[in-house]
């Protein structure tokens, strides 16, 4: 039946369209960063000295910044999304469940640039006057002190970007975890109750049963955080200096430096190509993360559909 000619043409059209889309997305990046990478490639991933007017292109701080921001926002989003998923499944009366689930889905649709603007005007000033002064006191502590050591408190800093980013990715992870939670066979739940288990035992059993779904959700959320542009650019403070493992400092990521500098970079061909090369590196980083996730289980593909 699938030999039918009309259907084959349709399928072929769709396939060609997808291939063209992928080529359009990747080929211009390669063509326009190829000669740059040959000349400055090693410097780009090993040095932290970024000075385009002098044709000095050390971009390691952006790569590390991206990983740093992704790590923290995923770490914070994890308990948020698991708790929210439990609220929307196990821990609320039925009517409230659908309300919470519907709300998180709606909120997932708020654009990144709107989150960024809200963070800039509402959230960041509030954090800078209430929370950050206390965090600054922690900078005297050994080891973790380095996270909070900065000379001046700036409303736009790594932590602001991380907090808003973790809020943004929470609905995605919540949707995936919620979906997995509802798939747990009911007889398992009954079995736990039959053995005299409490609601807490049921939750523990369910969560360990859907471990791979949770991991898939977290990886998808981390991938979204990694490629997120607008909110990060608006909130991270855009300091292109060397990377510091610090949360209260102003920082930068690959996406933020590209969004900030690409327009002016067009005056200097190598500058624009350096930013293009950074985007290429970002794609590779994202693909590695997803490939790592795929190795952990088939659940990832299903999770992508839900998110």
């Amino acid at each position: 039946m699938l030999r039918e000619r009309k259907l084959r043409i349709i399928a072929l059209f769709g396939f060609a369209g997808l291939i063209v889309a992928v080529l359009i997305l990747v080929v211009p990046l390669i063509i326009n960063s190829y000669d740059f990478l040959l000349k400055y490639g090693k410097e780009l991933i090993s040095s932290m000295n970024w000075n385009p007017p002098q044709n000095v292109y050390g971009g390691l701080q952006f790569i590390l910044g991206t990983l740093w921001v992704t790590f923290w926002s995923t770490l914070i989003a994890m308990p948020l999304s698991i708790s929210l998923a439990l609220l929307a499944t196990e821990l609320s009366p039925k009517r409230l469940k659908t309300l919470i689930a519907g709300l998180t889905d709606l909120i997932a649709a708020i654009p990144s640039v709107v989150y960024g603007y809200w963070g800039l005007v509402v959230f960041a000033p509030l954090l800078a006057t209430t929370v950050y002064p206390y965090l600054l006191n922690l900078s005297k502590l050994p080891i973790i002190g380095i996270l909070f050591s900065t000379s001046v408190i700036s409303p736009q800093c790594v932590l602001t970007a991380v907090l808003v980013l973790s809020l943004m990715i929470t609905p995605y992870a919540t949707a995936i975890i919620r979906n997995g939670y509802e798939m747990v066979p009911k007889d398992l739940v009954e079995a736990v109750y039959a053995l005299g288990g409490t609601k807490w035992d049921v939750i523990k059993m369910n969560l360990s049963y859907i471990k791979s779904t949770i991991i898939a959700g977290v990886i998808i959320a981390a991938g979204r955080a990694m490629g997120e542009t607008m909110a990060v650019t608006m909130l991270i403070g855009n300091n292109v200096g060397p990377f510091k493992p610090c949360l209260l400092c102003r920082g930068s990521t690959i996406t933020s430096v590209v969004a900030n500098e690409f327009e002016e970079a067009l005056l200097n061909p190598y500058h624009a190509k350096a930013l293009t090369a950074l985007i290429l590196i970002l794609i590779i980083m994202g693909s590695l993360l997803l490939a790592f996730g795929r190795r952990l289980g088939k659940k990832l593909v299903e999770a992508e559909i839900i998110a």
Partner: protein, 281 residues
């Protein structure tokens, strides 16, 4: 310590509810800050041009978002026209030719495309179209957005067609109908709500994107309908005016956020959710 688990439950309640609270705070802020601006300028907001910087005019400027609203619709329209045929046919391929290598590859490509950072589309299209055409344009912006919408439409279409029970299709085939007739005529009523809902989700996603448009759609403070002209969009306006020190421009950022979220995106999502709800197998 048999009661320790109650402590854990309480902790989950607190974390979950505060996460929900902060998310509602975001939504509430847009409403509280955006709606008054929309009411203040009224209908003029939808018909007037974007005001120039404060020092460039004397007296009362006309205040509006019309170029950004029209620009958003144009860019989305172009993206829709490109991504619907490709996304839909790719979805059919993924769902109906399963077990073939080409369909597996297509599914892999679609699920990879979804996860590509959206700013990538902006940079690629910049090199591919904006440089040769010497000018950003609504067309370039629309093509950049279509790259983001195609995989969404493909995945949703495939999901919808997959959900149709095999017996239904076999029923049609048993009558001697062609497979294409079964797919596009017999089960049309079953799949249409799902496909439309997917398309609406993709439109909602595209409407909010700023990163792919930053360098491809350009900026225009007057209304234009020429797809080869530069256009501003609501999302880019929120970004550009958000950093401004001018009170008026920041107000417009709130108004644009309100229109984008409450007038365009949330209704699209709501309709899309209702459509699939009605049609569950």
């Amino acid at each position: 310590m048999p009661r320790l688990y109650k402590l854990w439950l309480a902790l989950i309640y607190i974390i979950g509810l505060s996460a929900l609270g902060v998310l509602l705070w975001v939504l509430g802020s847009i409403l509280v800050n955006g709606l008054p601006v929309v009411l203040k300028y009224g209908i003029g907001l939808f018909t007037n041009n974007i005001p120039p910087p404060m020092f460039l005019f004397f007296g009362k400027p006309e205040v509006g978002l019309a170029p950004a609203i029209v620009g958003t619709l144009m860019v989305i329209g172009i993206a829709f026209a490109i991504s619907l045929p490709i996304g839909f046919t790719a979805g059919i391929l993924i769902a109906e030719f399963k077990h073939s290598k080409i369909a597996e590859l297509a599914e892999e490509l679609a699920s990879t495309l979804v996860e590509v950072p959206t700013i990538t589309a902006g940079i690629s299209i910049y090199w591919l179209l904006v440089i040769p055409m010497h000018n950003p344009s609504a067309l370039a912006g629309g093509i950049a957005l279509s790259l983001i919408m195609i995989p969404y439409i493909a995945i949703y279409t495939a999901e919808t067609y997959r959900k149709v029970p095999m017996v239904v299709k076999e029923g049609g085939l048993a009558l001697g109908l062609k497979y294409s007739t079964v797919l596009f005529k017999v089960i049309r009523g079953l799949v249409l709500p799902g496909v439309i809902s997917g398309v609406l989700m993709a439109l909602a996603k595209g409407a909010g994107e700023a990163a792919p448009l930053l360098f491809t759609a350009g900026w225009n403070d007057k209304v234009t309908l020429n797809p080869l002209d530069q256009v501003s969009t609501l999302s880019v306006l929120i970004y550009k005016f958000g950093f401004s020190s001018q009170e008026l421009w920041r107000e417009l950022s709130w108004a644009a956020s309100f229109i984008l979220v409450f007038v365009i995106i949330l209704p699209l999502i709501a309709i899309s959710k209702i459509m699939v709800k009605k049609h569950e197998f």
